[in-house]
């Protein structure tokens, strides 16, 4: 957007449902998709006299995530009540963390392998725990305006991760979300399903517009309802353009309008103003008297830190530096999750060419997984089997297009590469035989010789085609090299 008339300034608030069996303050199940109001109890229904008891597993998962995001973990935190009325909030307040969050001041690095933006460190203000609200379902059909409430979700532990407004384009925001999701997946702290709402994103967006008198900032808008990575990108892009148009029309700048909340309408591809607030919300935060403050020791923090596995950024670096993969290949493999990384590591251990292994994992293996819609755990070709195939490629016995055919048969039959090559009647052509063939072809094609001599090496392609006709087992790469060598010696 650097050539546009403005800079977009984006900060994201991400809500992550933590992967616990039970809710944050009671023992109800957190399972998704069950019939409405079947996972409730007096505590999460907010019934009179019921009291919350903290789920330590949720606190542990929160700490683990915060540490992976390079956050500082204070030794003392507490719970606060955020008071507001809504039917899906049965207590009339949400138990959250206000002035002493469980973690603060971290960062997440993002970069683009397609050079869509400069590498960026997105700083994190804080990550705190809170309970989820229930779900309201509004059926406004036929003027009945029925509303139904499902409280199964009420009390599910959420980690709210708040970034600084450090992102400068919708692509960066999308990349941040993708990198964050990948990190959470590696940590195994959340299902991260945006459709099911276990990963949700609100964006605070405004523009910095250079003018003759310096720079102006447009009023900040919070965008909600972005339920996919694509919506995050499109919603922000739309909103930036809208804000620019509104500014050109009204000239209103930051501070002249209250903060607005807009919802992303994915079907119409627009943001729409949600119910304008008469005044800014006052949540009357105060410490929850039903819960005791949480004290964690430095030793406990270090214990949690030990549980953190190798994270995507470190893995990418290792695949590049220790295995010689390109940035792109390392990125593709790591982004698929730990399973594919492990597959690659096993393959690299039993084959001789790391780069070739990387290319095959990133290429054929990944394409197969996507086509069959399976995970790498369900992939039935062992790294050892694949290594057998790679060995034939390395030795020049198989060219890449044949190798792909062999790979396909291996997949279907479960046989080894050598067996498949035999069955397919692929024979290695003798070097002398191949050279004889090339000489004959050159003699018959003086024009190709002239073209190559005049600098057009591509012309040799015609000879490769003819060679394949004569003997389907020839390796096109080898034919090409031999022909060029002969012509150049002429």
């Amino acid at each position: 957007m650097s050539d546009a008339a403005y800079d977009i300034v984006i900060g994201l608030e991400v809500h992550v449902q933590l992967k616990t069996n039970t809710k944050l303050f009671c023992r109800c199940s957190t399972e998704f998709g069950n019939p409405p109001n079947t996972q409730t109890c007096p505590v999460c229904l907010g019934m009179p006299g019921s009291l919350p008891v903290m789920n330590s597993k949720a606190y542990f998962l929160g700490m683990k995530t915060a540490l992976a995001l390079n956050c500082r973990i204070p030794n003392y935190t507490k719970w606060d009540r955020k008071n507001y009325f809504y039917p899906d909030l049965p207590k009339g307040y949400q138990t959250s963390q206000f002035d002493l969050p469980m973690s603060e001041e971290g960062y997440l690095d993002i970069k683009s392998t397609k050079d869509e933006f400069e590498p960026r460190r997105v700083r994190i203000i804080r990550a705190h725990l809170e309970e989820d609200a229930g779900k309201s379902m509004h059926d406004e059909a036929a003027g009945r305006a029925d509303s139904r409430i499902d409280l199964n979700r009420t009390g599910t532990p959420l980690l709210e991760i708040v970034s600084y407004p450090d992102m400068r384009s919708a692509v960066e925001a999308k990349a941040y979300m993708q990198e964050l999701r990948l990190l959470l997946t590696y940590l195994d702290v959340s299902d991260c399903n945006m459709q099911e709402g276990s990963l949700r994103c609100d964006a605070n967006v405004n523009l910095h517009i250079p003018t003759d008198d310096g720079m102006i900032a447009t009023p900040i808008v919070e965008i909600k309802n972005m339920n996919s990575f694509r919506s995050v990108e499109r919603g922000i892009t739309y909103e930036a353009k809208r804000q620019y148009d509104v500014w050109k029309e009204t000239g209103k700048v930051l501070g002249e309008l209250p903060k607005q909340t807009r919802g992303w309408d994915d079907s119409a591809q627009v943001t729409r103003s949600q119910r304008e607030k008469e005044e800014s919300a006052d949540y009357r935060y105060f410490p929850c008297p039903d819960l005791v403050p949480v004290v964690v020791t430095d030793e406990q923090i270090e214990e949690v830190r030990k549980e953190i596995v190798e994270l995507p950024a470190m893995l990418r670096e290792r695949l590049e530096s220790d295995f010689g993969l390109t940035t792109y290949t390392a990125d593709v493999i790591v982004n698929q999750g730990r399973g594919l990384v492990d597959y690659f590591l096993k393959l690299a251990a039993v084959s001789e060419d790391n780069k070739l292994a990387g290319n095959w994992v990133q290429g054929e293996v990944l394409r197969t997984l996507n086509e069959l819609e399976i995970t790498v755990d369900e992939f039935n070709m062992s790294p050892e089997q694949l290594a057998g195939l790679l060995k034939l490629i390395q030795s020049g016995d198989l060219d890449s297009s044949k190798a792909k055919s062999v790979f396909a048969v291996m997949l279907e039959s479960g046989k080894s590469a050598a067996d498949v090559v035999d069955e397919m009647g692929i024979e290695k052509v003798d070097q002398g035989e191949l050279e004889d063939l090339c000489r004959q072809l050159i003699e018959r094609n003086q024009r190709v010789v002239d073209d190559v001599k005049s600098g057009n090496e591509k012309a040799v392609g015609a000879l490769i085609g003819q060679a394949k006709k004569e003997n389907p087992n020839v390796n096109p790469g080898q034919v090409r090299q031999i022909c060029l060598d002969i012509i150049n010696d002429m």
Binding site: S50, F85, R284, D290
Partner: protein, 500 residues
């Protein structure tokens, strides 16, 4: 002396020896309630059938030689603020008129495990907000000693039913004096335990950081007996404390040696009724005669107790009572009425907001609404620091005062109230006067310490006067033993009112 006039401890001995049955005892109380509660109004609901059934069951268990709980066969009245499974629990409010919780409060579980017979639910100020039980949405309770007067509150029904021999034991709650003040005004014993000593699970919250459940009884031994059953750690209440419960009823008879009592001089300053002042001073003299030494101490920040309390308690209440919104349970304003009203005044307020507004205006009484507004205001942006935060700071200073005092003395002795029971309606239109009823009691809640009220005299008009002892956190055992020493030396606890 009829059976219902005896103490619970005596009744328990008779039950154990087989001289009476629980069914007979329960029946006797039901008859007494039937005879006098129309004049007193202590009960919101009497559960005759379930009580008798439970009594019969316990008698059978006893006959069969089965092991029995500590209160086996003794009737207990419960303040209508403690949730009981599938039983209406109204909190004295219209809001919860038809509310029957699907769970038991932990103390109710404890009572049932102790084989108590639950007699019924006692009246209270709505959501425990009040000092006279006039704020009940259902009916007032009258003081058995003079039925033109109030019994105190908010546990007015709990105190009145014991005082009028309608129950040997009763369970109340104390947020700012709600057990001790009615106990004093009705001439019975009432204990407010240390914060965290008794589980609050199932106690309908007024102010969570101040609420505690405690016993009311005719004698100190009886209070000790009931306390032993109520107290204990509960994993369902994060603020309950995991300290073993002493056998209060066994140790209560042992006098304390070298007891040092602290007297706060300005407890006797301006505003205290001379008859109360003289009764309390006499009580101090009695302790001296029993070998206690008396020491003047100071609680420098006690004067700020009421102001601090009336910020913190309403703040917590404003949030605790937000759940009564008509959406999920309890009272909800009539839909047609809400829609008609909206159509009529043409407001752009949505039906949801109007439903909330109307539900809460109709479901809550005036005092509850006043405190919700006070609390909402004090927590609002721009006021939080000046009110809530400042109040919390003062609260810490008050706690520090107590800590320092308890380095010098074992207990603090003084009055419970400045005046004896006042006439019904006398303070109803003056909230400030009503709030000052808690003057001597709120600081114990703010500091989280234990306090007990016990009878120490009568006014010329025959109204009971209470004596307050306060002890350091988790010193209930000593508190009860000290109270018992006084009771042994006096006979105020033996007098019973004549109910007209």
């Amino acid at each position: 002396m009829s059976i219902i006039q005896k103490s619970a401890t005596e009744q328990l001995a008779l039950l154990q020896s087989g001289e009476i049955t629980s069914a007979e005892l329960t029946q006797a109380y039901l008859e007494r309630i039937n005879a006098v509660d129309t004049s007193v109004g202590a009960f919101l609901r009497v559960e005759s059938e379930t009580a008798l059934a439970q009594a019969v069951k316990i008698d059978r268990k006893r006959k069969a030689g089965e092991s029995l709980g500590k209160l086996a066969g003794l009737p207990v009245a419960i303040k209508d603020i403690l949730c009981t499974i599938n039983t209406p629990t109204t909190c004295g409010s219209r809001m919860l008129e038809n509310f029957a919780p699907p769970y038991n409060a932990t103390v109710v579980e404890n009572l049932l495990a102790a084989d108590a017979v639950i007699l019924g639910r006692t009246n209270m100020d709505e959501f425990a907000m009040g000092s006279s039980t006039e704020n009940s949405a259902y009916h007032p309770t009258y003081n058995p000693w003079d039925t033109s007067r109030i019994p105190g509150g908010s546990s007015g029904g709990a105190a009145a039913c014991v005082s009028a021999d309608m129950a040997p034991l009763s369970v109340g709650t104390d947020t700012g004096g709600s057990i001790r003040q009615p106990a004093a005004l009705c001439g019975c014993v009432g204990l407010k335990p240390t914060y965290g000593r008794v589980s609050r699970y199932g106690l309908i919250a007024f102010a969570s950081s101040l609420d505690q459940i405690g016993p009311l009884a005719k004698t100190v031994e009886d209070a000790a007996l009931l306390m032993e059953v109520l107290a204990g750690y509960d994993p369902l209440d994060s603020t309950s404390v995991n300290i073993p419960v002493p056998a209060y009823s066994e140790s209560v008879g042992k006098p304390l040696e070298n007891l040092t009592l602290g007297v706060v001089e300005h407890h006797f300053g301006e505003g205290i009724d001379p008859e109360i002042e003289s009764a309390v001073k006499q009580a101090i003299a009695i302790y001296e005669s029993l070998g206690a030494s008396i020491k003047n101490i100071e609680l420098p920040h006690a004067d700020y107790g009421i102001a601090t309390y009336y910020i913190i308690a309403p703040c917590e209440a404003s949030s605790n009572l937000a759940r009564y919104d008509g959406a999920h349970y309890g009272y909800r304003a009539d839909q047609a009425e809400v829609l008609a009203e909206l159509a009529e005044d043409g407001s752009d307020e949505g039906p949801l907001v109007r439903m909330y507004r109307k539900t809460r205006s109709q479901g809550f009484g005036a005092e509850v609404q006043r405190r919700i507004m006070l609390g909402t205001y004090a927590l609002s942006e721009g006021y939080y620091d000046a009110f809530y935060l400042k109040a919390q700071k003062v609260r810490r200073l008050i706690r520090k005062d107590y800590d320092q005092a308890f380095e010098q003395v074992d207990m603090i002795i003084g009055p419970v109230t400045a005046n004896p029971a006042f006439a019904k309606g006398e303070k109803a239109s003056d909230p400030m006067a009503m709030y000052l009823e808690d003057l001597y009691t709120v600081t114990a809640n703010l500091a989280g310490v234990a306090g007990i009220s016990l009878p120490c005299g009568f006014t010329e008009n025959g109204l009971p006067i209470g004596l307050q002892l306060q002890a350091a956190p988790f010193q209930e055992e000593k508190l009860l033993r000290a109270a018992q020493m006084f009771q042994n030396a006096t006979d105020f606890h033996t007098r019973r009112p004549e109910i007209s």
